[in-house]
Symmetry: C2
Subunit: 377 residues, 2 copies
Amino acid sequence: MTNDVAAISAATSSIESIAALSDTRSSRRQRNAPTINDVAAHAGVSPMTVSRVINGEQVVRAATRAKVDAAIAALNYAPSAAARTLAGGDETRIGLLYSNPSSSYLSEFLVGSLDQASRSSVDLVVEKWDEETSIASVVAHLLRGRIDGVILPPPLCDLDEMVEALGKAGIPAVAVATGRAPSALAAVSIDDRQAAYEMTRHLIALGHSRIGFIKGNPNQTASARRFEGYVAALAEAGLPVQDELIAQGYFTYRSGLDAAEHILALLDPPTAIFASNDDMAAATVAIAHRSGLDVPGDLTVCGFDDTSLATTIWPELTTIRQPISAMARAAVEVLVRQLKGRRSGDLESAEHLVLDHALIRRQSDAAPRMRPRLGGR
Amino acid sequence: MTNDVAAISAATSSIESIAALSDTRSSRRQRNAPTINDVAAHAGVSPMTVSRVINGEQVVRAATRAKVDAAIAALNYAPSAAARTLAGGDETRIGLLYSNPSSSYLSEFLVGSLDQASRSSVDLVVEKWDEETSIASVVAHLLRGRIDGVILPPPLCDLDEMVEALGKAGIPAVAVATGRAPSALAAVSIDDRQAAYEMTRHLIALGHSRIGFIKGNPNQTASARRFEGYVAALAEAGLPVQDELIAQGYFTYRSGLDAAEHILALLDPPTAIFASNDDMAAATVAIAHRSGLDVPGDLTVCGFDDTSLATTIWPELTTIRQPISAMARAAVEVLVRQLKGRRSGDLESAEHLVLDHALIRRQSDAAPRMRPRLGGR
DNA sequence: GGCCAAACTGATAGCGTTACCATTGCGTCG
DNA sequence: CGACGCAATGGTAACGCTATCAGTTTGGCC
């Protein structure tokens, strides 16, 4: 019996094998998914050994491991997450608390964290927090839902009250993309300062010397880091930091409109504007167009984040790519590790992962049309 | 023992109870989550009865049910999903196959389907399909991952090859937001034709008689339905359907730019443009602004879908709201029902759910500035 | 009031996996 | 040369829940 199944699915994944598999499934449905016992029998070892192989324990002899691996492949075996968590006794449930669904960010974030959650076989409970709900009640809700830890994507990661409330309730959290200095809270982020520095350097290298900057929402610590990077690159190049070229934005498209309008209304407007995120960069492009400016001919515009908006609009934005789904994945991993450690009593300090960013060059930047004034570069 | 815990968490969810709960948790962590047996003991019934109450079976006497409910509330009990699927023996795994991450759509969709998935205690496996991957290999991958059924949000729901391949492999699917006529495939959608009809009527009621229309991508059947609604409303009002006012779009911002440019370049441009989705409506607004037109003063622009983009840009778009997360939820439910039925041998025909839409009025529409020509309305 | 069916409730036996020992085999040291 | 320790494996008993079938009530009816 078992051998029949093995013979069938041991075939490579050609079209025929697909048909074969599907036949198997539809006839005696579901029930016959191979179990660890099937694998054990097929490999001639005990289920325990199979379990050890699956979980990558080191104590299994290489030869045995090979036999088991072969059996797993032959039977197309996949462990049952349910049985695993039940037996393992942990049943970890982690919450993903979000607000402000900057949808493009959220969807990528969700995909990443879901993937890692199923890989780590933990439950992911996605929870939205509106400003109307009190923090206490959210925390109460998490507790009631037996959430073991939470992931805080921006802007929640910078909401002190939330972090504090979670801390008081004893719920570990991981902050994602915070610009906050390393603290007791675990965190996964990119080097916002360095990224903004690189982008600004890139603009300077193109020949720009009057570079506008639209700041991000001050309620997110990353905003300050990005601004620091801009200032640092300017300083390094010997360029002045001019207040008139700097506008306050709030990460929304709307705020970007105001900020860009303000900057472009100057008598001597900049030849480039670096917005702290893509939404505001898109708004800047819109204002530029409305003012009859060509992008990038008359004005270079750069964003930050590389959300889908960056490639939606025209021209496509030169921007900084954050590895959003990798960060989400990492956040789940960090949290799971922390929870495991906590359960076994090791109180190791909070991890701080910094992932790589990348400058993505698209069509919204160019050298300035006019001769750059001397002193630039 | 058990009673102590009960006493603690029976308190209402005031701040104090939060603290109490968290204390309980952090001291003897995780292990002591109440089980069905605890509840049974507390209620003085058998675990089986508790199980029945939880699963909403009708055979439990009201008095018994009340006792159990009280015990559940007192202990703050939540069933273990793992144990449930393990014992239930079904361990359903459903796939969410997406391509073209129209991110705002996707994130809302994900949130909805995740929520329902955990409620129905099924595993949701999110899978992306790029155009480069062959359909056969995707299907093979699903089979290998033991996916029992898949959800197809647009545009995949209209990809015949995909639907067919899944059918051949014996994987049931639910199409979401397809405009396709009811078929063997289960589906959850809104009445696209009716929605577009209502929006067009709304524009006519405002006094518009020259109404432009930007069609959606022909690879999605909903596009045709929306166009039909537009035509029907025009016909009903005795207005002519003028080809020059109709442009082909592809649901992308870029295509909306071209379409809007085309329509607004007419000698006698329309006073309103109804785009088949929000992205193209946003593009239309951009073009209007670039041409020095005020929205809605000089041009009314309406969208469809009510994605976050609709409220991101300025002015905010009047649009048709699709209940995306409700549709996702419904899709999961339909699929689960179908799988259960299939497992127990009932081959009921495919369900077709039509959910309600709503016309959301925001700031992008107004009565036409010029006197509407006679014949309108 | 007693009997029978129907409506409830309970006991038992797993579901697939891992934790926690017990066991085996083999090289090594006293 | 025999016991001892270590490495590799196996046996057993949960984990928390539900399916199944076997009781035990209940209420209706004669």
